[in-house]
């Protein structure tokens, strides 16, 4: 292979120290000190490794575990600030508030127990409200929970350059994105769907309900669970898309809260002014609530057709995923 440069006859550069003079001055002696010798503090030894690397699922599971286990213990996994972990715990406990009330109703029995059971017991409204009720869950709990979890999920990799850790290894962008998505969805799912499941089962256990109750309420419960899963998917898509477009976890969190609360507020104002609910299709929460009402079998609070909300949800998810994929594609391994 021939080089395209021939150095034959080339001359090297010349340099002198700054302020060295022109060499025509009177001679005088200069004495220099020798360098201090630095000792060696350990015996450096290269050790080879003969093991074998696991398949794709091992790598993917490592990403998943890193992000999910970090919530339980920061030791060895992704670091979540203690306040973030505490807030998530508070939200989870908050989501379970009907459980002690059901327990109380079973303890009290009689008229008082019956009243408490009516207020917090299993029915269409309460099952819908456990996942999709606006206050407190969709105003205080779920958006805040999502904002806390998605905050630095991808934006931290963009900010710290840690995307290089993933993509210089046999981790594909699809695996990276899907595992991050799964991690967020599992955390949200645990708080939202699992708390819903606990609520339902504790009602059965504490009230000593039988098969007839189960047969009556199970379809409603499943409808609510599907609504919860759609909520988790939608919030994860929006949250991760926002996390992928910035280098700031604060931006992703605030951006998510702004999307959820902002669209809700604008739609509400339009409804109050014009008595028309059509603009609720821009609000992810209201689309979810509308679909949830259908799944649980409640009369809708919205005048516009259900298909508009379903289409809107599909569009919101598609746009969010498109944005997420496009931004993850631009994550660099080498910075230029």
């Amino acid at each position: 292979m021939e080089d395209s440069v021939d150095l034959g006859g080339g001359q090297t550069r010349m340099e002198v120290a700054f302020g060295a003079g022109d060499g025509d001055e009177e001679a005088s002696a200069v004495v220099t000190k020798s360098d201090t010798k630095l000792g060696s503090i350990f015996n450096q030894q290269y050790r080879t490794w003969e093991g074998s690397l696991g398949p794709r699922w091992v790598r993917n599971y490592a990403i998943y575990r890193h992000h999910v286990y970090g919530l339980l213990t920061s030791k060895g996994h992704r670091y979540y600030h203690p306040m973030v972990r505490l807030l998530i715990l508070v939200i989870f406990i908050g989501a379970l508030t009907p459980v002690p009330m059901l327990f109380l109703s079973s303890l009290l029995g009689g008229e008082d127990g019956g009243f408490i059971s009516k207020m917090w017991g299993i029915n269409r409204y309460n099952l819908w409200g456990q996942v999709l009720g606006y206050f407190p869950r969709n105003m205080c709990f779920w958006p805040l929970l999502t904002a806390l979890v998605v905050g630095g999920m991808i934006s931290d990799d963009r900010k710290n350059g840690t995307s290089a850790i993933y993509f210089s290894r046999p981790v594909t962008r699809f695996d990276y994105t899907s595992m991050k998505y799964l991690s967020v969805a599992v955390i949200l799912g645990f708080v939202i769907v699992f708390s819903y499941f606990l609520y339902y089962t504790s009602a059965i256990v504490f009230r000593g309900e039988g098969w007839a109750f189960l047969a009556d309420t199970l379809p409603i419960f499943i409808g609510g669970m599907i609504a919860g899963i759609i909520l988790v998917i939608t919030y994860t898509s929006i949250g991760l898309a926002l996390s992928s477009i910035s280098q700031s976890r604060f931006f992703a969190a605030i951006g998510f809260l702004s999307v959820i609360y902002g669209t809700k507020l604008v739609s509400l104002l339009v409804e109050l002014q014009f008595e028309n609910t059509i603009l609720y299709i821009i609000s992810p929460y209201d689309c979810l609530a509308h679909v949830g009402q259908f799944l649980v079998g409640l009369p809708p609070n919205y005048d516009h057709p259900l298909s508009f909300s379903i289409l809107s949800l599909l569009l919101i998810n598609t746009l969010s995923l498109g944005l997420l994929i496009s931004r993850v594609s631009s994550l660099e391994v080498t910075r230029e």
């Binding site: 292979m1 021939e2 080089d3 395209s4 440069v5 150095l7 034959g8 080339g10 001359q11 090297t12 550069r13 010349m14 340099e15 002198v16 003079g21 022109d22 060499g23 025509d24 001055e25 009177e26 001679a27 350990f42 450096q44 030894q45 290269y46 050790r47 080879t48 490794w49 003969e50 093991g51 690397l53 696991g54 398949p55 091992v58 790598r59 490592a62 990403i63 890193h66 030791k75 060895g76 996994h77 992704r78 670091y79 931290d156 710290n160 350059g161 840690t162 995307s163 290089a164 850790i165 993933y166 993509f167 210089s168 290894r169 046999p170 981790v171 391994v333 080498t334 910075r335 230029e336």
Partner: protein, 341 residues
């Protein structure tokens, strides 16, 4: 021109070509829209330590990305450790350790967890990765600091941690992008020693990209120089040095101008910068003529040596031949490159 084919100690040598080149490329082209980033790149890299040189924007990063199988090439073909860069990127990345130029560490983790996680991302079992993380952190000199949070690390420790992340699976090829970036003298010396040991003791191939020619010369025995997307030189440093004119360098005290005139009068080819004078070696008589001139001019010769061109000289000569107006490799550095040395 690459003549010395060293034996590869690859863990899976079957994939390598008969000549044991760890990296080969033929007619590799990469275009970003209308911009030609790599132009007809032909590479044959044997195992050992290779310096990848070139000005900013020459195409080094694009070449790395192509070799890692991260981006598709417009045309041409290439193999790394016998694996096709177009179709077997994942296999290539399993066998390569990449040490990025910029910080790529999670500041919230402690060093041992960061390195272990890097191993897990390669598919290593968690326990094995943890054990190996201890070994490599010791190797890069962070044994005492392995339980410290990365956010408390100095630049030298961060670079060492990145190196540990790259070495955790004992890769066949280690790609280091500016490994001495921002390091002070002591940390730089240790980093270079570690890279050298990885080549000599570990029998691994190191591809090192740097703008600090002294660092490349310290570790590497051959260079690949990229300019405007083309490979302009790929050969051993020794061969390049031998192509350059041999000169004697003398340092004069008292009367350098007189000395210069005397040397010219003896028909010697002379260059002078202040008290430093270089004389082209014409024949065996040259030194004798120099000493005679010193006696005639009544000056002191404080130092006389045959000037050994270093890699910086070679680099500047090549850039000069290519019509580039670079006066020193330091011009290629950003503030991030400059450490305390």
């Amino acid at each position: 021109m690459i003549e010395n084919h060293q034996d590869s100690s690859s863990k899976n040598g079957d994939n390598l070509s008969q000549e044991n080149f760890v990296i080969e490329a033929k007619g590799l082209r990469k275009m970003y829209g209308p911009h030609l980033a790599l132009d007809d790149v032909n590479l044959s890299i044997p195992s050992g330590a290779i310096g990848i040189l070139g000005p900013n924007g020459a195409g080094k990063s694009t070449l790395f990305k192509c070799l890692l199988g991260l981006i598709g090439t417009t045309s041409g073909e290439g193999t790394v450790l016998g694996y096709d860069i177009k179709t077997e990127g994942e296999k290539i990345r399993s066998r390569i350790g990449y040490m990025p130029e910029y910080n790529a560490l999670d500041s919230g983790l402690i060093a041992i967890d960061q390195v272990r996680y890097c191993g897990e991302l390669l598919g290593m079992n968690s326990k094995v990765a943890a054990q190996r993380a201890h070994e490599v952190l010791e190797y890069v000199g962070l044994k005492e600091q392995r339980y410290r949070k990365i956010e408390t690390f100095s630049t030298g420790m961060l670079q060492a941690t990145k190196l540990a992340c790259a070495l955790i699976h004992d890769p066949d090829i280690l790609i280091c992008d500016e490994p001495t970036n921002g390091l002070d003298k002591r940390a730089r010396k240790f980093m270079l020693k570690t890279l050298k040991r990885t080549v000599q003791q570990g029998n691994r191939t190191v591809l090192m990209s740097s703008h600090v020619m002294d660092d490349v010369q310290e570790v590497c025995d051959r260079i690949v120089l990229i300019h405007k997307g083309k490979i302009v030189v790929q050969r051993s440093i020794g061969e390049l040095v031998n192509q350059v004119e041999r000169e004697i360098e003398i340092m004069i005290w008292g009367g350098a101008s007189k000395m210069e005139e005397s040397l010219i009068s003896k028909n010697l080819s002379v260059r002078r910068l202040g008290r430093i004078i270089r004389i082209k070696i014409e024949d065996e008589e040259t030194i004798k003529k120099v000493l005679e001139s010193a006696v005639e001019s009544e000056v002191q010769i404080r130092q006389l040596k045959e000037y050994e061109p270093d890699l910086e000289d070679i680099f500047l000569l090549i850039m000069d031949k290519l019509g580039s107006e670079i006066k020193g490799s330091s011009e290629l550095m950003t503030p991030d490159h400059k450490g305390g040395f």
